[in-house]
């Protein structure tokens, strides 16, 4: 069997694995909604089941990340800088990590949210998951982007998507402010340690949208030339 330069010249395309990783991350993050519903329903078994799912998906995302890194050796020549691509990947991974941390903390403390913030919190989580969905939509454009050879139309399209992502993130900030002030109103009547962790969970949940946004800005940096 003859060797051929042509068989050796093509490296593994990073596009599909990047998208698969983001899909996995999103699957992981979306489990936070059933998890939050279980929290609201005070259903410890359901919480634990959802947390387990989140942890499993986060692990799977981790594996995909490692595999992709291995397939992107230094000698590859790509239309985008390798370092930028790996940055985007890292950002994607942070999103899943955050989801796992949130679920882990809430399950670990068998957290029950106070009435006044319960429904707002569910909406908060949902919007943060929306932010991740939007980041995923942008990552989903990667294959078109490579196919068109980084056409301006595609880049503009992604820019629009990222603007939308920014808008969602701002919205989650507003919800976060609202929840914090509601919590502030009742915090004196609650066990102080619990309150401490409520604030932490609210922070972390907000970070979810921040991190989704950071996936977007890294993507934008990668495309900027």
């Amino acid at each position: 069997m003859s060797g051929s330069y042509l068989t050796g010249i093509f490296g593994n395309s990073p596009v599909k694995p990047m998208q698969q990783h983001m899909d996995k991350v999103f699957a992981c993050v979306s489990e936070l909604i059933p998890f939050a519903e279980a929290v609201l329903a005070n259903d410890l078994a359901a919480m634990s089941a959802a947390q387990e799912k989140i942890a499993t998906l986060e692990n799977e995302a981790d594996d995909l990340k490692k595999e992709l890194r291995l397939h992107l050796p230094n000698r590859l020549f790509m239309p985008v800088p390798r370092r930028d691509l790996l940055e985007v990947l890292t950002m994607q991974d942070y999103v899943a990590n955050q989801a796992k941390d949130i679920a882990g903390l809430m399950l670990g403390r068998e957290m029950k949210l106070p009435e006044v913030i319960a429904n707002d919190y569910l909406q908060f989580v949902t919007r943060c998951v929306d932010a991740c969905a939007q980041a995923r939509r942008a990552i989903n454009e990667l294959d078109e982007l490579f196919e068109t050879g980084f056409g301006n139309n595609e880049i503009e399209l992604i820019d629009d998507m990222l603007k939308e992502l920014d808008a969602i993130e701002r919205e989650t900030d507003d919800i976060q402010v609202k929840i914090r002030s509601a919590l502030f109103g009742v915090e004196k009547d609650l066990p102080p340690v619990d309150v401490m962790f409520y604030y932490r969970v609210i922070d972390w949940t907000g970070d979810l949208a921040d991190r989704a946004q950071r996936v977007g800005s890294r993507l934008q940096l990668m495309l900027a030339r």
Binding site: S2, G8, I9, F10, S13, L76, F77, M78, G149, G151
Partner: protein
């Protein structure tokens, strides 16, 4: 049976074997691009390759054959014993064939062109003397090994940039693909036939003026474009195609174009690489034909080109399927919109080299073209170790061919004198 008859038979057998090897291995690189991008099935690729390799070898293979045959070695020091040239050429064929066999078994990618040039230069230096090598010519051949991948890379870069501008980055890539692909097909037919006609087809009794060449090339270009347009028109975008799926159909339009570039690639490959097998044969035939004299003026017998073309097709038919399948599997990244740019650039470069009589490596030229597409941000990941491997092949293949041919040269000399 006198010596001359034996020489002739040996030359014919070795040359056929070499051509067979080229057909079995080398052609795969020229055709796999189209198979990998699914523009052609393997069976279609083999049929296309058989026809166009043969046509290329027969119609445009003469110039490079002439170079291999008498461009590298200065026969002046050989007038005393023209037998040496026969031994040398036979040894070169054997050496290049053996080296290709070894390398293929080990799975090393090698270039037939480099093996045969290395072999001829090698036996000339040791068997005859440094002064027997036409260093100027060898120098320009060596330079062309660097220039040809760079040139085809540049052309591929420009071609793919034009595809981005005209088709991919537009609001309606599908409509624009249908509009511009016939134009590219025209370019394929026009360029390849023009370069071929420029160098004349005297050996098949066709002499053309410059104007006539342009005219005929233009007509061939229009003809191929019309055939292409017919097939392009039959591709339609289904109503449910969205932004994400429409590129599948855009690529399908480019797939039509790739059938034409595959023909061009096979033609180009035949025109350049057939010489690696038949050049030395022609040299032997030339000496034997003139009764042992070094007749520099003797014309290239047509049957020698036929032998080479036939050998290539035989190798392709017997062995090519597997090689094309293997190489094709590895290059699915090269979608038709990229593949055609690479193939057209490489084919044009190779045909120009064939017309000028310079033996170059088709595969290296194609690799250069793929890199050109990559530089135009057309390919998601290229492994640059290939560039290093190409340099390595220059460093290893040339001496390997030379050393083997020196060995064979002295063996043959010992056997026949």
């Amino acid at each position: 049976m006198d010596h001359f008859t034996i020489y002739l038979i040996l030359a014919g057998v070795f040359g056929l074997f070499m051509a067979w090897g080229i057909g079995a291995n080398d052609v795969a690189n020229a055709m796999a691009t189209s198979v990998g991008s699914k523009a052609l099935t393997i069976k279609q690729a083999i049929i296309v390759a058989a026809i166009f390799e043969f046509a290329g070898a027969f119609l445009a293979g003469g110039q490079v054959t002439k170079t291999i045959r008498k461009g590298i070695i200065d026969p002046a020091p050989l007038t005393e014993n023209p037998d040496f040239l026969i031994f040398g050429m036979l040894a070169s064929l054997l050496a290049a064939g053996t080296w290709l066999l070894i390398a293929s078994n080990k799975g090393w990618p090698v270039s037939t062109t480099h093996s045969i040039v290395g072999a001829i230069v090698g036996f000339a230096i040791v068997g005859i003397g440094m002064e027997a090598v036409q260093w100027g010519k060898v120098g320009s051949i060596a330079a062309s090994w660097v220039v040809s991948p760079v040139l085809s890379g540049f052309v591929a870069f420009m071609l793919f940039m034009s595809v981005q501008k005209l088709v991919l980055n537009t609001d309606d890539p599908f409509a624009n693909a249908k509009r511009f692909v016939p134009g590219y097909i025209f370019l394929v037919g026009f360029l390849i036939s023009l370069v071929t006609l420029f160098k004349g087809l005297k050996h098949i009794g066709l002499e053309l003026t410059l104007d006539q060449s342009y005219m005929i090339a233009f007509v061939i270009g229009i003809g191929t474009a019309l055939i292409g347009a017919f097939f392009v028109r039959r591709i339609t975008l289904p109503d449910d195609a969205n932004r994400h799926t429409r590129f599948i159909y855009v690529e399908r339009v480019f797939g039509v174009l790739m059938i034409f570039t595959a023909c061009a690639m096979a033609f180009a490959h035949g025109s350049n690489d057939v010489a690696n097998a038949v050049g030395p044969v022609a040299a032997v035939v030339g000496i034997v034909g003139s009764g042992g004299e070094l007749a520099q003026k003797s014309a290239l017998p047509t049957w020698v080109l036929l032998l080479g073309g036939g050998g290539i097709v035989a190798g392709l038919a017997m062995y090519g399927r597997r090689v094309i399948a293997t190489v094709g599997r590895h290059i699915t990244e090269l979608t038709p919109s990229r593949g055609f740019a690479a193939e057209l650039a490489a084919a044009t470069t190779v045909v120009i080299a064939s017309g000028t009589g310079i033996p170059i490596s088709t595969t290296h030229t194609l690799v250069g073209a793929v890199l050109g597409v990559g530089i135009a941000r057309g390919i998601s990941a290229l492994d640059l170790t290939v560039v290093r491997n190409i340099f390595m092949s220059w460093i290893i293949t040339l001496p390997a061919g030379a050393i083997l041919s020196i060995l064979f040269f002295f063996m043959l000399k010992g056997m026949f004198t």
